[in-house]
Amino acid sequence: MGGLTGFVVWNTSVYNGIKRRPSTGRLAILILEHDAKSLLEQRGMPVPKGLITPVSAPVTPPFPAPWVLKAQVPVGGRGKAGGIIVLSDPGRLAETADQLSALRIKGFPVEEIRVEEAISDAREIYLGLVLDAASGCITLLASATGGMEIEAEAGTGIHQRSARPDTVDMMAALDELAASLPGEVAPAIRAAGAIAVSAFLDLEATLLELNPIFLRDDGSWIAGDVRLGLDENSLSRQPEFAALLDTRPQAYADAVFKRDHGFDLVIVDPEGEIGLVTTGAGLSMQLIDEMTRKGLRPYNFCDIRSGMMRGSPDRLIATLRQLCAAPRLRCVLVNIFAGITDLGEFAELLHRARDAVPELQVPMVVRLVGNGQARAEAILEGSDGRLKLIPDLDLAVAEISELCDA
């Protein structure tokens, strides 16, 4: 369950208080801070020296303390959750890392940390670029005050401009933003913003937040923290994003699963008892909701995209194998109600997948609705004593409930 990728979570971001809330929808995969800093550093963004290391056996950095130890988890609010610790005594590295390893930050275990040089004697300023889904534009935000309490600035201290997703429009917006800030802050926002705009466009980002940017009295600056959200749908034309999944698959397990198998499967409860083989995210979520409310424990979310299986049982086999890994699995519910899928073909594929994964021994309740229903029923009916066909979803869930009680 380690290193699950996730979506950008907004509750620690600045947007709650601003007048026009961004309508984000699904934003992106949140790239871990270390990886985001590496991507931006390659584009000329100054960032503190740092390295990524397993929390269980932290490597001593080749630069002097004080260091900042930062939990690498794909959610915001690390600082407030105790996931960022400043360390001045190099001898206490392992001990401090231990302290971080005990944390779960919004459900995410801490498996890796970034150890970086501490920056002192600097003020904190803020720059953010974020997709505004409703308008199809990008909102650029900047503030002369940054840091963990940035939300307190929302509404007053944060300036914002909207721009089309192209260099000319975004640079013009950045210029206006910088001009609205105090003179000692504007040059750093301009310089950091130019790199951020180019990175945002190149990487097809949906979020890029520099918070804080450390600004020194001499005008020099460095990006203290970076939050970067990338669009999974752009993966096939984004070589750097693709390379990241190749080199650090354990950190982006869900995205790697989706890339390799072409569909979504997310373990929502490692102790769950019910395996789901379902198509459609909305109905899968609704099933999880209704089961959870009845006290049942679904193991996984699944949007197998049955319309895209192209006559191959591979997705079903991958799903059934994944379900075998559930230690407390009691039964499996297959629910396919699809506009696209031919159910006769689906039934054949399900049959083949079951043959390919004989280790899955639990009973299976199957509910199929749509084109080719009769043929599907003919194929599956009586095929196996452990498989039960039920045409109504509520009745199928009732059957699952009985199997879990038994």
């Binding site: 907004w10 459900g107 997703p165 979504d264 909305g282 909701d289 109600f337 699809a338 506009g339 749509g370």
Partner: protein, 299 residues
């Protein structure tokens, strides 16, 4: 365009299908024609003049298809990275409506298409729409025939499959649709729930609206705002999925994210209820309530 789409007395849409040669597309074209859709052309880059697929004349470009057939709407069934260029070609050819059913369109492409469709004055339904249906008039996309029937309800949905289940149960209860619009679950889209309010406010045959939403984004909240500003004058029911969705985990379908305050289920429920919408978290009670409310109203 939405007004014309749902008005049975208006001229039927003349539809072209881009990417009409794939197995899935041909299968669905047959179902769409059976549902009453006037499909006049197919577009495939390799087509040469005189080509037909299942009797449908094929063209290499949308411009040629429009010139030859007067197509004014396009259904795109092309791969994710081809949606933007294919849709731009359709807009350039002058169609008034594009429906894109492909899943996985990059967000950046969707942003460009949103601006292009607005500049062209055209309506875009998508990205990743399961399609739209006006029973007895037309069907574009995948919505399953078993859940379609003429009736008094409008269904607006972000989620495909959850709306199928909703539609099926309502039809089983005797309640079909005036129209069913799948706006799609992606964050950036051509038509949002709130954009549907004006066309359906003035649509007498629609007696109630059923909204199928889910966590993520602020579309439900924006709908609530639109309903408060200009009441729609008919009951609105909503089912929202994602109560048990863990924060910060991938739920696959675009839109499925718990995004702090706004976008959460709690925020959607409170804002929709404040706008007079009856919000449900389970299907069975919603179907029961709608059935009871509609009793005696249905002609």
């Amino acid at each position: 365009m939405l007004e014309r789409l749902i008005d049975h007395s208006a001229a039927p849409l003349r539809v072209m299908v881009q990417g009409a040669t794939g197995r899935a597309a041909r299968n669905h074209i047959a179902r769409m024609v059976a549902a009453g859709t006037t499909i006049v052309a197919g577009v495939s880059p390799n087509a040469v003049p005189g080509d037909t697929v299942d009797g449908l004349p094929m063209f290499a470009t949308p411009a040629e298809a429009v010139a030859a057939t007067g197509a004014d709407a396009s259904l795109l069934m092309v791969p994710p990275l081809s949606v933007l260029p294919a849709a731009i070609a359709a807009l350039d050819a002058g169609v008034d409506l594009i429906v894109t059913v492909t899943e996985g369109m990059p967000v950046r492409d969707a942003m460009h298409l949103l601006h292009a469709s607005q500049a062209a004055g055209a309506t875009w339904i998508g990205a990743s729409s399961p399609g739209l249906v006006v029973p007895g008039r037309c069907k574009l996309g995948f919505l399953p025939d078993i859940a379609l029937s003429p009736g008094p309800l409008a269904i607006w949905s972000k989620s495909g499959t959850l709306s199928y289940e909703t539609g099926l149960r309502l039809v089983a209860a005797g309640l079909g649709q005036t129209a069913w619009i799948g706006v799609g679950g992606d964050p950036v889209k051509g038509t949002r729930f709130a954009d549907l309010v004006p066309a359906f406010r003035d649509h007498a045959p629609t007696q109630a609206v059923v909204v199928v939403g889910e966590i993520g984004g602020t579309e439900e909240e924006d709908l609530a705002e639109a309903l408060l500003e200009t009441p729609i004058g008919k009951p609105v029911y909503a089912i929202l999925a994602g109560a048990a969705a863990p924060e910060g985990k991938t739920m696959g379908h675009a839109g499925a994210i718990v995004s702090g305050g706004k976008g959460s289920l709690a925020s959607k429920i409170s804002e929709l209820e404040a706008a007079g919408v009856a919000v449900f978290r389970s299907l069975a009670p919603m179907v029961e309530t709608i059935t009871a409310d509609m009793k005696g109203k249905t002609p």
